[in-house]
């Protein structure tokens, strides 16, 4: 029985009068991987920040489990080149134990970069370093904002595998944010499609629609396809609102 880590109920948020999130409810459970997808400007990062407690919703509640301990991997990080800081030291900001930092770097496969200045890491190496920092405090929930951004296809595959393995080892819940509507980790237990409101949610289809696609991307990724029961206009507003019901009418398992 997986434990509930956090539940959001009826979250609304707007910036400067412009609604970004409308009536969003979801729950995250221990041992479950949830992927949040949606186009640019859909409010994915805002939702992630509400879950992280970085911003407060206008209305609605965020109820974290008392034992919730979040490990966060931001979308990107820019550290001024004038700050002399090694990869190991960067990790020690989260957990001062030298040994824990080395272990974390080992588990993401960049132990050899311990002493390198963090600004000198390549895109993929930096993503791994950020992942290592996220797992350093033994979290029970990992929030990963576009974790494979700027990484080539093979690297993405490897990174997804690594996240999956780490999540299993730590037995934690995972919330992954992705703007990519086509490429979603097949290990995902729950996919949430967000476009200001939750359009639909559920298990990713195990359909192999294009064998060539699988040839390229391997078995860890699959095409996730779903059908909306409603359309959006250019402003993202739902057209023909009355036919839209969350949950039941969504065309996937």
């Amino acid at each position: 029985m997986s434990r509930l880590l956090l539940s959001l109920n009826g979250i609304h948020k707007s910036f400067a009068g412009k609604p970004v999130l409308e009536d969003v409810s979801l729950s995250l459970k221990q041992g479950e991987i949830t992927t949040l997808i949606g186009p640019n400007g859909a409010g994915k990062s805002t939702l992630a920040k509400i879950i992280l407690g970085l911003i407060k919703p206008d209305s609605g509640t965020s109820l974290p489990n008392a034992e919730l301990n979040i490990g966060y991997m931001p979308q990107k990080i820019s550290i001024d080149p004038t700050l002399p800081i090694s990869t190991c030291r960067f990790l020690q900001l989260a957990n001062t134990s030298h040994q824990a930092c080395h272990q974390a770097l080992e588990s993401v496969g960049i132990r050899h970069l311990t002493k390198i200045p963090i600004q000198r890491l390549s895109g993929g190496e930096l993503q791994r370093a950020l992942l290592a920092r996220a797992i350093l405090r033994n979290p029970n929930l990992l929030v990963l904002d576009e974790p494979v951004q700027g990484v080539d296809v093979n690297g993405q595959n490897a990174l997804y595998k690594m996240i999956n393995n780490l999540a299993k080892t730590l037995n934690c819940g995972v919330l992954m944010v992705s703007h990519d509507l086509h490429l979603v980790m097949s290990a995902t237990d729950q996919v949430i499609c967000l476009n200001r409101h939750i359009c639909c949610e559920g298990h990713p289809e195990k359909v192999t629609q294009d064998p060539a696609f699988i040839d390229i991307f391997g078995q860890t990724t699959a095409i996730y396809s779903h059908h909306h029961d409603h359309d959006h206009n250019l402003h993202g507003e739902v057209l023909d609102d009355h036919t839209h019901q969350h949950g039941e009418s969504c065309n996937h398992e």
């Binding site: 992280l52 970085l54 931001p74 990080i77 004038t82 989260a94």
Partner: protein
């Protein structure tokens, strides 16, 4: 032999009397330089150079208001930059103008307002040049107490908050998720900056404060591998610049504040040379 000793003692004594103000200048400069080093590192890491300038300019307004309202200058010179920093944070959150533009508006408005208020005080003779470029040679014993008291407080604050300060400098959101109170720590950094600026005003004046903060830090960057190393090296380099500037001022009769900044600039150029040699 006894005669030689006598002469030596007398000459030493006269040296001490003659150089009393030089000694005070030296002690004041070194005390300020010690804290300017680590704080300057944060100014460089967090790209706050223009922010430092703005606070420094508003310190002049602090002086003129202090004189006008007859309040202790040490208080107004710290309080006005602090208030300005709060106004900046408030306007920044509104988000309708870039920080750069806001700083430009606040910095020059504060400087102009300070100059205008000073011009309204005909009875009080305020030495504008010493405010703008510092007057290290006019430091008194009571100034020294203030400088060392505040410098100690700043060092203790920096020491206590060091890890959190580095953490919010690297990434504030990551720090916040991991439990750092980002608002509290960055407000503390603003307070520290305002305090150091109030101190540094005596040494290099309003217009050159940022130089004393960023040049030693930038010089130290070439020579360090950890944030702590950089902070310590910046302190030492700032102290060296103060000593060199005072010596320059003493021997070739240059204004001390600008001389300190020139010395810092020379040290920076040398560090660039060292780097080239090393690589």
């Amino acid at each position: 032999m006894a005669k030689f000793l006598m002469i030596t003692l007398i000459s030493m004594e006269s040296l001490v009397i003659m150089n009393d103000f030089l000694l005070y200048a030296f002690l004041a400069g070194v005390g300020v330089a010690a804290v300017a080093g680590p704080l300057g590192c944060f100014v460089v890491w967090r790209r706050m150079a223009y922010f430092g300038d703005t606070l420094a300019h508003s310190a002049l307004l602090g002086v003129s208001l202090g004189v006008m309202l007859d309040i202790n200058l040490n208080i107004t010179v710290t309080a006005i930059p602090l208030i300005l920093a709060m106004v900046l944070v408030f306007l920044e959150q509104k988000g309708f103008l870039s920080v750069d533009t806001l700083l430009g508006i606040l910095s020059h408005s504060a400087l102009a307002l300070g100059l205008v208020v000073i011009s309204f005080l005909p009875d009080v003779r305020v030495d504008l040049m010493s405010l703008l470029f510092g007057d290290l040679l006019a430091v008194t014993q009571s100034d020294l107490w203030v400088i060392y008291g505040v410098a100690c407080a700043v060092m203790i604050l920096l020491g206590l908050l060091w890890r959190q300060l580095i953490n919010i400098t690297v990434d504030p959101e990551l720090a916040a998720v991991e439990g750092t109170n980002v608002t509290l720590v960055s407000t503390a950094l603003m307070l520290i900056t305002a305090l150091v600026i109030a101190l540094a005003m005596k040494v290099v004046g309003v217009l050159l404060i940022t130089a004393l903060l960023i040049i030693p830090a930038a010089t130290a960057r070439q020579l360090s591998h950890t944030p702590e190393q950089m902070a310590v090296v910046a302190s030492v380099i700032a102290m060296m610049a103060v000593v060199m500037g005072l010596a320059m001022s003493w021997y070739i009769d240059t204004p001390p504040g600008p001389s300190v900044v020139i010395s810092a600039g020379v040290l920076f150029s040398l560090s660039l040379g060292c780097r080239r040699l090393a690589s």
